[in-house]
């Protein structure tokens, strides 16, 4: 790993001011993606601003149906929160299936969302739940936040402080993990709310996470696994790699969507 200067921020505003003085600084959340990326010499930031202990960015609050999760809340804490599980079990189940137990003790929702890995699980949840991503500067809707593969609407030096959403009437996430890496080859989060159905797909899109609007329309007509199974899914703009080609992933989108709807 290249040399770097380490800074530890105790809150979000301190983190923002620490990074503003750096040449090519990056925020360090749980580090479960960034540190391996740096070890592989695919990233070499001049500075790391560690926000994993930023006290105003940790914790889960629930008010009625509205859920707010601090950006530095770990996957383990999301998965194991009984109050959250009571209002939105689908996000707890999703978090409990990311990586492995040790990774879940360090990895955070804010880190995952900021990285926007095309095979990450959380982006599908936030997009399907119509979540709001709050930064130190503004609120960004999930629809505007996820811009492309590893690309988000975040500006330089902008930091996610929390994500919030209303728990859906029904919702579930189904993922087909790569048998070796366990990353989603395709993951589909389907949610039904008063505003209608939303279906978000991760692992498959060549531009990262995306909404499957044909399935949303079908589910608005009738919320059932058969509704999504009858939708034709184009292989255009889907990923092809050694693990599966675009046509294979297109079929998996249907299968995972049907499973998500069935489990919701």
């Amino acid at each position: 790993m290249s040399e770097l200067k380490y800074h530890k921020a105790s809150n979000a505003s301190e983190a923002a001011s620490m990074i503003s003085g750096t040449e090519d600084g990056k925020f360090l959340a749980g580090g479960q993606t960034l540190l391996p990326t740096m070890k592989a010499k695919l990233a070499a930031p001049s500075d790391l601003v560690d926000v994993s202990g930023a006290s105003d960015m940790i914790g889960i609050s629930i008010s009625g149906n509205t859920v707010s999760i601090g950006a530095m809340t770990t996957h383990a804490d999301v998965a194991g929160n009984p109050e959250l599980n009571a209002v939105c079990p689908s996000i707890c189940a999703l978090a409990g299936n990311i990586g492995d137990p040790a990774v879940r003790h360090r990895g955070t929702i804010g880190g995952s969302v900021a990285n926007n890995d095309p095979a990450a699980d959380y982006p599908a949840a936030l997009l399907a739940l119509g979540a709001t991503i709050t930064t130190n500067n503004r609120d960004i809707s999930a629809d505007d936040f996820f811009v492309g593969m590893f690309e988000t609407a975040l500006e330089d030096g902008e930091i996610i402080t929390k994500v919030s959403f209303d728990a859906p009437e029904k919702g579930a996430y189904a993922k087909f993990p790569n048998p070796a890496s366990r990353y989603a080859m395709v993951g589909v989060f389907a949610a039904k709310s008063s505003g209608g159905a939303r279906v978000a797909v991760t692992g498959a899109g060549s531009d990262g996470v995306f909404r499957q609007s044909d399935m949303e329309a079908a589910l608005d007509g009738s919320w059932s696994p058969d509704s999504v199974s009858d939708v034709s899914v184009s292989a255009d703009n889907l990923l092809s790699d050694i693990h599966g080609d675009a046509a294979y992933r297109a079929n998996l989108v249907k299968v995972m969507a049907a499973r998500a709807v069935a489990n919701a």
């Binding site: 790993m1 290249s2 040399e3 770097l4 200067k5 380490y6 530890k8 360090l28 580090g31 479960q32 540190l35 391996p36 070890k39 592989a40 790391l48 560690d50 994993s52 383990a76 194991g80 990586g99 492995d100 137990p101 040790a102 990774v103 003790h105 360090r106 366990r182």
Partner: protein, 159 residues
């Protein structure tokens, strides 16, 4: 350089480390606690698992500086005169062959037992296999590791 201080296996330690020092390198190279192993160095294999503030983490994927002020337990910190019940269970159930992955297996095992006991969930054989997602063994085929963890879990609960 950054000055760090933490408690490792009950002992206060303090050092000046390069800012890019990984926790596992601090544990092995500076503290000379070489029971924690580096296997893949890519957070897949779990040979480097230690407990930080009571939670299993991959010490190859955490900066030493991030553990500032923490309470760290390595495999050397488990036994207290006699083998820890989980270590004894691995010995009795032939839960190892070459032994390289064993420190990480045991640190993950004690972590899962603590979590399942705290939440009142039953640590079934299926749960043990699922919980071992992040620990790789290339010798045993896992059967005896799973048996050892089930045995160690009951020894820990009845200890």
């Amino acid at each position: 350089m950054t000055e760090i201080s933490m408690v490792v296996n009950g002992k206060s330690v303090k050092a000046d480390v390069a800012d890019n020092t990984l926790l596992v390198d601090y544990i092995r190279e500076s503290l000379r606690l070489t029971g924690t192993h580096v296997g893949c160095d890519t957070s897949q294999c779990g040979a480097c698992v230690v407990h930080v503030d009571g939670k299993a983490v991959k010490s190859c994927t955490m900066l030493a500086a991030s553990a500032q002020g923490s309470d760290v337990t390595t495999i050397e910190g488990l036994a207290n005169g006699d083998l820890h019940p989980m270590q004894a269970a691995f010995k009795e159930n032939h839960g190892l062959q070459c032994g390289f992955c064993t420190p990480g297996m045991i640190m993950s095992a004690t972590d899962m037992v603590a979590r399942y006991n705290a939440s009142g969930k039953e640590l079934t054989e299926e749960a043990i296999r699922d919980e071992l997602e992040g620990n790789i063994c290339r010798c045993t085929g896992y059967h005896n590791i799973v048996k050892a963890i089930a045995d160690g879990a009951s020894k820990m609960t009845n200890a």
